[in-house]
Symmetry: C2
Subunit: 181 residues, 2 copies
């Protein structure tokens, strides 16, 4: 749960990050930036600001702004009926992005999820993305990201987005953010 | 057919346009910008500079630079076997882009294909895109674009790209550009 004031403050911080990253968006798109706290009520630590540019029945193109050290919690995009699940390419546009997926765990990871949620982070193979660098996750592969010390902006290019069906490792996560006055 | 010098000159003009548009790309990506003359040998009039950022078996994300008044010739992305054909969203990032597809023809279109190729342009419903504005073409729908007086930069977000299978209205078009020293 976040307050409407906190939502608007995060949206404005995202707009500054998008501007620094050279992202071109219309005013009506910026008005609709999603501020997601994943139901955890600790937006500065766990959350994301999401600008959706394309969302068809086939593909999605989104831009994510992460505040400094903000973590987008570990999740996967599952198979669903006839749909193989979302394939997603994450491409850093600005700042530094720490990206984690399956594989050899980093001995000294730069990413730091909130200590009280450490058990909800199970994949620790690290890729540090700087602007222009990217990684592609096939469907159903768990992954999580964290912004660097100045935050980060990243593109998400994917097959059909099915956000509410995403499976998060943390049982406390709720994908839809409740906003209160 | 274009010379290697013309290819490199067009690539450099594209890099300037991409920079003006705030596009973030690595040096190795910029080295691979495709300069396409569509086999017509009149690059300033008919052609495109194409930067591919994502190209998986499922989706593609590209950025197109069009020189001033340069036309990307009319084409469609056909069905192929089990693939419905490429769905494509064109989003203007910089400059002005004139986009044409099926529908009510513009009475006074801004777009001007080369006069000697006028018969290869059959759809004249006009949409003028400024930065942040976009249009989505379903598979198999003919479309063509032209850059404005300062050129244009546009994103192409799509399902799987199958460029060499694109069907061009102009029988003179060859999708693969021959580069000579």
């Amino acid at each position: 749960m976040i307050t409407r004031a906190a939502q608007e403050a995060a949206r404005r911080r995202a707009i500054v990050l998008f501007d620094q990253a050279g992202i071109v968006a219309r005013a009506d798109e910026l008005d609709r930036i999603e501020v997601a706290d994943f139901g955890l009520g600790e937006l500065e630590q766990s959350g994301a600001q999401i600008l959706t540019l394309v969302d068809t029945s086939q593909i999605a193109a989104k831009v994510l702004a992460l505040l400094p050290h903000q973590v987008l919690p570990e999740h996967r995009h599952p198979h669903m009926g006839g749909y193989a699940g979302k394939e997603e390419t994450i491409r850093c546009a600005w700042g530094e992005l720490y990206v984690y997926g399956p594989g050899e765990p980093a001995p000294h990871p730069k990413g730091r999820p909130p200590a009280h949620r450490r058990q909800a982070y199970t994949v620790w193979h690290e890729q540090l993305l700087r602007p222009g660098e990217q990684v592609t996750f096939p469907p159903d592969v768990p992954h999580w990201f964290q912004g660097g010390s100045r935050g980060a902006v990243a593109w998400s290019f994917s097959t059909k987005a099915t956000d509410v069906a995403d499976v998060f490792t943390d049982p406390d996560v709720r994908r839809e953010t409740l906003v209160v006055d």
